[in-house]
C-alpha cells in the first residue's frame, strides 16, 4: 500500500531523469523543472536534484528554477510565501502540488492535525474547502490515508507518503528505528516472562488441587476405619453420623 505511490513515481522519475540527461541547455532544463513540478503524480524530487545536469543551472539566470526544485523537494507553502521574492511565480498546478507537499510535511510531525492549523498552512479560509482539498487532492491520489473528524475538527493521519529527505533527517530515522527495536526487544522479554509465570501458576494450581484431593482421600479412609471400629461397639446414631460425612 505504501509501495504503490512509490512505484507510480518510479516510472515518472526515470522518465524525467532520462529527459534531463538528454537536454543540455539551461532554458530547456528550466522548462523541464517546471513540467516536473506541475505533474500531478510526482512528489519526489531528490533524484532530479542530484542530477549533475541541474547543477549547471546554478549561477545562471535560471538559478531560481533550481531553488524552486529544492523548495518542492524540502519546503512547504509557508517557505514559498516568505521567499516569494526570489522565486518565480507558480502555476496553479504547482500551487496545488506545493499544498499537497505541505500536508505531507505536517503529517510528519503529528498524527492528529487540527483543522485550524491546516487552514493556516494551506491558506484556505473555510472548512468545506479544506475538506474538499484533503479528500480530492490528498486521499484520492494516495499520498495520505486517514480519517476526517469534523466534530473535533481534526484530521487523523494513518499513513502519509514520505517526502524527500535531508541528510540530517536520516539520522533521526535511524534513532527512531533503534528506539523501536529497543522497545520491541523489552516487550518480547516481558512476554516471555508472562508465559513462564502462566506456566508456573498453572503448575502451582495443579499441585494444590492434587494435595487437596490427597487429603480428602486420607480423611475418607480414616473415617471408614473409624466407622468400622466403632460399629463393633455402638450401632445406631454413630452410623448415621458417619454416613453423613461420607459425602
Amino acid at each position: 500500500m505504501a509501495m504503490d505511490a512509490e512505484r507510480r513515481q518510479a516510472e515518472l522519475i526515470a522518465q524525467f531523469s532520462a529527459q534531463a540527461a538528454a537536454l543540455s541547455s539551461a532554458p530547456q532544463l528550466a522548462a523541464l523543472v517546471l513540467e516536473a513540478t506541475s505533474h500531478p503524480a510526482l512528489f519526489a524530487f531528490s533524484e532530479l536534484l542530484t542530477l549533475p545536469a541541474l547543477s549547471k543551472l546554478a549561477g545562471t539566470q535560471y538559478a531560481s528554477s533550481l531553488d524552486l526544485l529544492r523548495l518542492f523537494a524540502y519546503g512547504t507553502l509557508k517557505d514559498y510565501k516568505s521567499n516569494s521574492g526570489s522565486l518565480p511565480a507558480l502555476l496553479p498546478d504547482q500551487v496545488r502540488k506545493l499544498k499537497q507537499l505541505s500536508v505531507l510535511t505536517l503529517a510528519e510531525s503529528t498524527k492528529i492535525l487540527p483543522y485550524d492549523q491546516l487552514m493556516q498552512e494551506l491558506d484556505v479560509s473555510n472548512v468545506r474547502e479544506l475538506e474538499d482539498f484533503l479528500i480530492n487532492e490528498c486521499m484520492y491520489s494516495g499520498i495520505v490515508r486517514g480519517k476526517l473528524d469534523q466534530l473535533r475538527r481534526c484530521f487523523e493521519v494513518q499513513f502519509a507518503a514520505g517526502r524527500d529527505l535531508t541528510p540530517d533527517q536520516l539520522t533521526n530515522m535511524i534513532e527512531t528505528l533503534s528506539d523501536w527495536l529497543g522497545t520491541s526487544d523489552s516487550l518480547l522479554h516481558q512476554i516471555q516472562e508472562k508465559i513462564k509465570w502462566a506456566d508456573t501458576m498453572s503448575e502451582v494450581n495443579k499441585k494444590h488441587q492434587k494435595e487437596f484431593e490427597d487429603r480428602v482421600e486420607e480423611a475418607k479412609k480414616s473415617i471408614k476405619l473409624n466407622n468400622l471400629s466403632r460399629q463393633t461397639s455402638t450401632y445406631g446414631g454413630m452410623t448415621t453420623f458417619s454416613l453423613n460425612l461420607e459425602e
Binding site: 519526489a44 524527500d164 530515522m173 516471555q192
Partner: protein, 331 residues
C-alpha cells in the same frame, strides 16, 4: 493433453501405472480443504463401520487382511483454462465384482449437484491408499467419458508423524510411450490449497483445538502469548534489517536509494500507532470493565463455595433433636 479413448482401449493389461515424473501438462491445481475433510471423513466412517461389523468390508478392492478398506468418490469443481480448482467431493460405490463404479448413482448425483452448483463439473475421482493400484487405471479410464482428462486424488490414511506435507497426491493421466507402445500412466502433479473464508475459519478452529483440550486457562494463555511473541519477533527482525540498511547507507557503504528512504520515512511516521486522548480513555474503560467482570466472577465463585460449605456443615452436625422440629444448627 487428453488421451483419446481408442488408445486407452488398446491397453488391456493393467500396466504399472505410477510414475515418479512430474506432470508436464502445465495444469495448476487448487484444492479446497473441504475435499480433504470429506475424503478423510469417508475413510474414517467406512473403517469404523467395518471394524464395528467385524467382517471385512465389501467395498474394498485389493485390501489386505490388516488394511482398512479403500473408499472411492468423485471430485467436482471448476476448470478455467489451465487452472483446475477442486471445490467439493461426494462418495461413490465401487462394485467389487466388476471393479467398476456405479454409473447410475454417479449420474444422479451429478444431476443433483448441477442444480445447486451449476458451474461445477466432475473433474475426477479420489481414493485412499498408500500408493496407486493397478486397478485404478481402469476406473480412471471409465471416468474419461465424463471428463476427458480426469484427475485422481489419492489420500494416504496412514498417519506419519514425521511427514510435514499433506498425505495427499494428485495424479493426472498422460500418454507415454513405454516399450514401443503408448500407454496411459499416472504422473504426479503439484497443487496448492485455496480456502474460502468459511473454510479458513473452520480449519483455524480445528487447529487450535489441540492445546485447549488438555488445558486450563493458563495453558490457553500461554498459547496465546506465544503466538503474539512470535509475531512481534518477526516484526523485530524485519525492522532490524531496515535499521542496518539505513546505518550502512549513512556510512556510505551502500549508494543512497531515495525511493527506499522515502518509504522508510513514511513507515517511521506511522509510529506511535495510537496516541490520542480518546484512545487512552477507551482503553482504560475497557480494561476496567474486564477487571470488574473478573472480580464479579470470583465473587460468585466464592459465595457459591461458601454456600456449599455451610450446607455441608449443617448436614453433618445436624443433631437428632432437629428432626423433632427443632432449630437448625447454624442458620
Amino acid at each position: 493433453m487428453s488421451a483419446p479413448s481408442d488408445a486407452a482401449a488398446a491397453v488391456d493389461t493393467p500396466a504399472p501405472t505410477t510414475a515418479a515424473a512430474a506432470s508436464s501438462g502445465g495444469f495448476t491445481f487448487k484444492l479446497h480443504p473441504l475435499v480433504i475433510v470429506n475424503v478423510s471423513d469417508h475413510h474414517t466412517r467406512v473403517k469404523a463401520q467395518a471394524a464395528c461389523s467385524g467382517d471385512s468390508s465389501s467395498s474394498s478392492s485389493g485390501a489386505g487382511a490388516g488394511q482398512p478398506p479403500r473408499v472411492f468418490g468423485c471430485v467436482i469443481g471448476v476448470q478455467r483454462g489451465r487452472t483446475v480448482e477442486i471445490f467439493n467431493s461426494f462418495e461413490l460405490v465401487l462394485d467389487p465384482v466388476s471393479g467398476t463404479l456405479d454409473r447410475a448413482f454417479l449420474e444422479k448425483k451429478q444431476e443433483l449437484y448441477k442444480k445447486v452448483f451449476p458451474d461445477f463439473y466432475v473433474l475426477g475421482w479420489y481414493s485412499t491408499g498408500s500408493d496407486v493400484h493397478d486397478t485404478d487405471m481402469q476406473i480412471h479410464k471409465a471416468l474419461m467419458d465424463v471428463n476427458e482428462s480426469p484427475v485422481y486424488l489419492l489420500l494416504n490414511p496412514t498417519i506419519n508423524l514425521s511427514q510435514k506435507d499433506l498425505p495427499l497426491t494428485i495424479y493426472e493421466s498422460e500418454l507415454h510411450v513405454i516399450d514401443g507402445s503408448p500407454q496411459l500412466i499416472f504422473v504426479r502433479s503439484n497443487y496448492t490449497i485455496e480456502t474460502v473464508e468459511a473454510e479458513r475459519i473452520s480449519v483455524d478452529h480445528v487447529a487450535h483445538l489441540k492445546p485447549s483440550d488438555g488445558g486450563s486457562a493458563a495453558t490457553q494463555l500461554a498459547a496465546h502469548l506465544t503466538g503474539i511473541h512470535s509475531a512481534i519477533k518477526m516484526l523485530n527482525s524485519r525492522v532490524r534489517v531496515i535499521h542496518q540498511y539505513l546505518v550502512a547507507m549513512q556510512k556510505g557503504d551502500i549508494p543512497v536509494d531515495n525511493s527506499l528512504l522515502r518509504q522508510v520515512s513514511s513507515l517511521v511516521r506511522r509510529l506511535p500507532a495510537m496516541e490520542s486522548q480518546k484512545f487512552q480513555d477507551d482503553f482504560l474503560m475497557e480494561y476496567n470493565d474486564t477487571l470488574l467482570m473478573t472480580y464479579l466472577a470470583m465473587f460468585t465463585n466464592c459465595s457459591s463455595t461458601m454456600n456449599e460449605l455451610v450446607e455441608k456443615i449443617n448436614t453433618s452436625y445436624e443433631r437428632p433433636t432437629a428432626r423433632r422440629g427443632g432449630r437448625g444448627a447454624f442458620m
